[in-house]
């Protein structure tokens, strides 16, 4: 891969996505070995820089880096405590002075990963910035679908919920549409403003209709604070219109899979029956996450060449 950073899916070419997915396949096997380690990134220093609470993504990156034999440093902080003292730029410059090779950043402000690239010399991987993008999540989603369906083109992918505030939705929309899937987004119009028609998607506010013949359903986490924001009147009403239930799932193709970036709100966006059913591939997504992140790290640091 030519790129030095992974900031989002929007600016990746189809071939680059294919390259990452292809590379990921070879890393799946490594995690199944008794000794889960290869020397691809031996001597490289990777920093996990997390300004937002995260267990899944942070652990996944950490495990991925360690299985590639990189040295990993974790730095967690809340944005608020950093804002009181050192600026993001100074924090990163200080870490870089310790000769890091790659920085993985999770931040609550959109554009934070891009901002790092304006002044630092390490590779930067965006692990989620505000409501902008979460590229490795989309890649692992693509990987999961590829494994289950054998292809990405010609599928109908339905993304449901709080699209407005979701970086996962943005990255997924770009990834699946670039790979030839048809993407439909569904949720209340307050969380899918009209100008979202600019994305390469169809919008259907009626979830029942949106689910017809779907191959993949991606449910998004509903943040509790959205209710205070007046985006919908009650969880009860939201659940009635937009919760994925076994009855609704019947409308999809019989072999459709259900995904979720986690953590799930049982009984809100997803009924427990669906979450625990054979249609749910949520834990497989997590498994693919490690392989995809190993692929991204090795491609960016050139360990594969």
């Amino acid at each position: 891969m030519e790129k030095k950073h992974l900031l989002g899916i929007e600016n990746l070419k189809k071939e680059e996505i294919e390259e990452i997915l292809e590379t990921s396949k070879s890393f799946i096997e490594i995690s199944k070995r008794p000794i889960k380690k290869v020397p691809v990134l031996r001597g490289k220093t990777v920093v996990n820089l997390f300004f937002e609470p995260s267990t899944r993504t942070r652990s996944s990156f950490e495990i991925a880096a360690k299985r590639l034999s990189a040295d990993v440093m974790n730095f967690s902080s809340s944005v608020s405590s950093v804002r009181k003292g050192e600026s993001l730029k100074d924090t990163v410059l200080n870490l870089e002075a310790m000769k890091t090779d790659l920085i993985i950043i999770r931040h609550s402000f959109s554009g934070a990963a891009k901002f790092l690239t304006t002044f630092c010399s390490s590779s930067v991987v965006n692990a989620g910035d505000g409501t902008h993008e979460h590229p490795t999540q989309a890649l692992l989603d693509g990987m999961t679908v590829l494994e289950k369906k054998g292809r990405l083109d010609g599928l109908k992918v339905v993304i449901v919920g709080d699209i407005l505030h979701s970086r996962v939705a943005r990255s997924d929309i770009f990834l699946f549409s670039k790979m030839g899937s048809k993407v439909v987004i569904s949720g209340p119009p307050t969380l899918i403003p009209d100008y979202f028609r600019g994305f390469p998607v169809e919008i259907d506010y009626n979830l029942d209709r949106a689910l017809e013949n779907a191959d993949v359903v991606i449910m998004l986490r509903l943040q509790k604070e959205r209710m205070q924001g007046g985006f919908f009147p009650s969880v009860r009403e939201y659940r009635q219109k937009y919760q994925l239930t076994p009855e609704r799932l019947i409308r999809t193709k019989p072999d459709a899979i259900v995904m979720h970036p986690g953590p799930i709100n049982r009984g809100i966006e997803l009924s427990s029956d669906v979450a625990d059913s054979g249609r749910s591939v949520i834990l497989e997504q997590v498994e693919k996450g490690v392989a995809v992140r190993m692929a991204v790290l090795s491609l960016l640091l050139g360990g594969e060449r």
């Binding site: 730029k89 959109s110 554009g111 934070a112 891009k114 993008e133 943005r170 403003p193 600019g198 994305f199």
Partner: protein, 425 residues
């Protein structure tokens, strides 16, 4: 000192002057305008192929004194103005503390006096710019405040706005309206659209401006008061103003150079030098603003010069302060992108940057070049090529969205009261 400006093209639409003349400046006044003037002991400038216009006025600047002198003080701001071709500026009251009483107006007037240009204070409309009680606008006017505004915190209570507009009629005063419905724009950092949704930036929709302007011009129309809409950014707002003007409301408006030549696509880098309020809007909005400039709907070009230190701007987009500087780039940007490209005439340029600001703010002796009038003159070299380099700015701040732009046309001589405030030949 006597100054003789030779062979320049004088353009002063207010008194119907457009032609090659010599201008003799003496004792701060324009002594003579004639085809050929000889003067032995004058300082002589040969202005062949240059354009001599009434001194330019920027009616919307922020100098950070008192409070944030590290970003700009009145002295550095005035130097930037003179360098950009401006003989006068109207300084917004959002300092720390704000200019909301007569004594603070006097402070700005006094500090302005030691600069080479005119710094006209704008007083707060309400005490502390809090939008709760009217400020002592009449007493501030007596100390030299030329207009009133709460700037970035526009009056949201319609009753208070009505009372203030009525009250201002004691002095035939004008309210400068940063019109924004802050509940619609709350938390927003960029125009609300697909482009910014892609970037994950929270939106400031055009309705927050257009709806506020509609309400405010109706109130001003009702009270028969003067209202000036600041930094119009959207096509819909122009519609509202056009209708209000057609109804006969006493409304004027301004637009900034950045809204005229930039749009939201510049945000893709998350460069905070493109973060301002109102935000850069769509390419269609930009086109509409240019149209309205040539049609005459827009009265004024003003920079909204908003200095911020590099430390304050070099942060994540969401937390960076709004605003960009403009005093030293307005003339080159407008000349190159609009005058040179025939979108507006030289005459219109003079109206937008001198005649109309002088009329709206009621500034005596500004806005024209005429015999026996005060010598406030700007000379523009339409062929001068510049590359914007913020390191060379007279301003203390560097937050320009035009860094590196190659532009043709710049102010080369700024004369205030017959004195050279800036020259570059």
């Amino acid at each position: 000192m006597r100054i003789l400006l030779k062979n320049g093209r004088i353009v002063s639409p207010l008194n119907g002057l457009d032609g090659i003349f010599d201008v003799l400046v003496e004792n701060g006044k324009i002594k003579q305008i004639a085809k050929r003037i000889n003067c032995e002991d004058c300082k002589i400038y040969d202005l062949t192929r240059m354009i001599v216009v009434p001194g330019l006025i920027d009616m919307h600047v922020h100098f950070r004194e008192p409070g944030r002198e590290d970003a700009e003080d009145i002295e550095s701001g005035a130097k930037a103005a003179a360098k950009g071709g401006f003989v006068a500026v109207a300084m917004m009251p959002n300092t720390e503390p704000p200019v909301d009483d007569p004594l603070r107006v006097r402070f700005v007037v006094e500090r302005g006096k030691i600069t080479d240009i005119y710094v006209f204070p704008v007083g707060s409309f309400t005490k502390g710019r809090q939008g709760k009680e009217l400020a002592e606008m009449v007493m501030m006017a007596e100390e030299g405040a030329v207009a009133f505004s709460d700037d970035g915190f526009p009056v949201s209570d319609p009753l208070l706005l009505r009372r203030g507009l009525e009250y201002l009629k004691i002095i035939d005063g004008i309210y400068l309206d940063h019109a924004e419905d802050r509940s619609l724009s709350m938390g927003g950092v960029a125009n609300e659209s697909y482009i910014t949704a892609k970037l994950g930036l929270k939106g400031i929709p055009w309705i927050s401006e257009a709806a506020a302007v509609a309400r405010d011009v109706y109130i001003a129309e009702f009270t028969k008061s003067k209202i000036h809409i600041q930094h119009v950014s959207s096509a819909k707002t122009l519609e509202v103003i056009e209708q209000a003007k057609a109804r006969g409301a006493n409304v004027t408006c301004e637009v900034t150079p950045h809204h005229l030549v930039l749009d939201e696509t510049h945000l893709e880098t998350y460069d905070t030098n493109f973060k301002m309020n109102p935000p850069l809007r769509s390419a269609e909005d930009k086109e509409a603003l240019q149209e309205a400039l040539s049609s005459g709907l827009i009265d004024v070009i003003a920079s909204d010069h908003a200095p911020h230190t590099r430390d304050d701007k070099e942060v994540e987009f969401d937390v960076a302060p709004f605003g960009v500087i403009g005093l030293e780039t307005t003339v080159p940007v407008i000349w190159d992108k609009l005058v040179e490209k025939k979108k507006i005439t030289v005459e219109r340029f003079v109206e937008l940057l001198s005649v109309n600001p002088a009329r709206i703010l009621g500034l005596e002796g500004f806005g024209k070049i005429e015999k026996d009038g005060p010598a406030h003159i700007t000379v523009i070299d339409p062929k001068k090529e510049i590359t914007v380099n913020s390191e060379e700015f007279a301003s203390k701040s560097r937050n320009t969205p035009f860094e590196g732009w190659k532009l043709k046309g710049a102010a080369v001589l700024t004369i205030v009261n017959g004195k050279i405030a800036f020259e570059s030949f």
